[in-house]
Symmetry: C2
Subunit: 322 residues, 2 copies
């Protein structure tokens, strides 16, 4: 089981759900790698450290050159909280309300009608199609620069409904430490998430230390044009890429072009990314964050609408770690 997928049971004692409560929220990705302090001294931490030692030891048969030390992380539920709803969905819902005066027709059109009456459950009754509609109308029709400003304004003021904290504080301290620890050991860290690529880029560098060019995510189509003699990229209402499930290895190949040697996720949507990482030669590492702490965070898995984790990880991988 070393360097493999952990059983959920191995993670029961893992202190993964400590929400960070730093007063200085602008620099969270520095000065933590030598601490690694939010982790209990259990199997996952030991396995991570042993894996990193094996691939970074010069002369070892498991040595991996720095250029190939690629680590990929899901975002929602892996790096930050995804309960009670995806944070990007909370953004979209707020945007629907802000845009409603310009769309009188929404009063009679689902999922907008329910949403504007405050009936979130009714709005989301349409499932993924309803979410897709809400995301489309709130993520297109503006330039990429305009969208960036809209997200920036929202994320600096919006608060999480359960904690009252800014969403950018709803990130997992152990994962921040893990990101910094890997980078200190020559890894290049990437986000590979079903979340919107342009949405995540607004905060990922400040919050996780991951620059825009190391974000892989879902996206809408773009069109380049000149507007008022200035070049702009318009966000179109058409899906370009869905970076979820079997899309994740595709996104990795498109953006990174190298197979990760370590991958971190929390739900069924991350399974193929972990398979892809594990399927390469040499020593590989894959980890699933299992949300079990209902008191300090949220406990959910097999029956959750968001971040569903319903696979028996003992039998998911027919191949070994080499």
């Amino acid at each position: 089981m070393e360097h493999g997928i952990f059983n959920a049971s191995q993670l029961e004692n893992w202190d993964q759900s400590l929400l960070r409560e730093l007063s200085n929220k602008d620099v969270v990705h520095e000065n933590v790698f030598d601490q690694f302090g939010a982790w209990n001294d259990t199997a996952p931490k030991k396995a991570i450290v042993e894996f990193v030692q094996r691939v970074t030891e010069h002369g070892s048969p498991n040595f991996v050159p720095e250029a190939e030390r690629i680590a990929t992380f899901d975002n929602d539920g892996t790096l930050w909280a995804e309960q009670p709803i995806y944070i990007q969905l909370a953004f979209a819902l707020d945007r629907v309300k802000a845009l409603a005066p310009q769309h009188p027709e929404w009063k009679d059109k689902e999922p907008f009608a329910s949403l504007l009456k405050g009936d979130l459950k009714g709005a989301l009754a349409g499932g993924e199609a309803a979410i897709f509609q809400i995301v489309t109308v709130t993520h297109s029709g503006m330039t990429t620069d305009e969208f960036e400003k809209i997200v920036q304004d929202w994320i600096t003021t919006a608060k999480h409904p359960a904690t009252g904290r800014p969403y950018t504080e709803m990130v997992y301290q152990p994962m921040l430490e893990l990101l910094a620890y890997l980078r200190a050991n020559g890894f290049k860290t990437f986000i590979v998430s079903g979340g919107g690529i342009d949405f995540m880029r607004v905060f990922a560098e400040r919050v996780y230390g991951i620059p825009p060019e190391q974000i892989v995510g879902s996206s809408g189509k773009l069109r380049f044009l000149m507007r008022d003699s200035k070049p702009v990229l318009m966000k179109l209402p058409d899906l370009n890429f869905n970076d979820d499930k079997a899309g994740t290895p595709v996104g990795i190949q498109m953006h990174i072009g190298r197979r990760p040697i370590a991958a971190f996720g929390n739900s069924d949507g991350d399974l193929q990314m972990l398979e892809w990482a594990k399927g390469g030669s040499g020593v590989r590492f894959a980890l699933i964050v299992h949300h079990t702490d209902a008191e300090r965070e949220w406990a959910y898995d097999r029956t959750s609408f968001i971040g569903r984790l319903d696979k028996d990880w003992k039998t998911v991988f027919p191949f070994g770690s080499k």
Copy 2:
């Protein structure tokens, strides 16, 4: 004109076409940045150095943090030669010949029939559609790993028809020096090219010092699946993205998520990338390699089928560099 687009006439004296003839072809991107020696001491070199000094000087109003020092380079005709035909097209033509025994139907089907008779001109008479067909049959139907090996095998043995040199030596020494010079000054260098992303990744790190995750290019669709219990990515015969002309700013946004502050191209296909780079705020730099040296390289522009350059750069940009 400083820090702006150069007129073609300004580049007439630029020694840009010296093909490198290094005996040690495996390490070409190191130990060159302090030489900058293949450049004549004319306006382009001076402008590059002045631009770099302005954006790297701490405390200056033009200072740009390292994370935002993004420089993008076209590949064909900018970093390496594209005459007498695109190098990737030479690869595809060789692959058609290698695959012909498995495709008896090609004997009666254009553009393959002409090609297999040695009539390149006849094969390419079908224009872009013919090229697209040739590229499709030679770039799909295998896994990404298999394709990488095919390209690797070809590029280590194939020779340029005019010089008899390996294609990876058909790179422009001044541009290698420029890449290294920019990186030594905290820039992150990217390729943004109409060439195939998976094709360029095979050699770009070794030849240019640009890793796979910093390559933006055209691509076919991919499908993730399990084959013989191993995860693979199959290359499909469908176009995913055409990273040319108005596609280049889209590719930049998708992969980099930041607007370049410097961009380098050589043909009309690079125009929008240069517009996009120049359209941002602050000091920006854009440069066009104009091929004028018929003796040591090739001279071509307005009427060329490949790498056509037929714009009046004095009037292309209605906005200044701010």
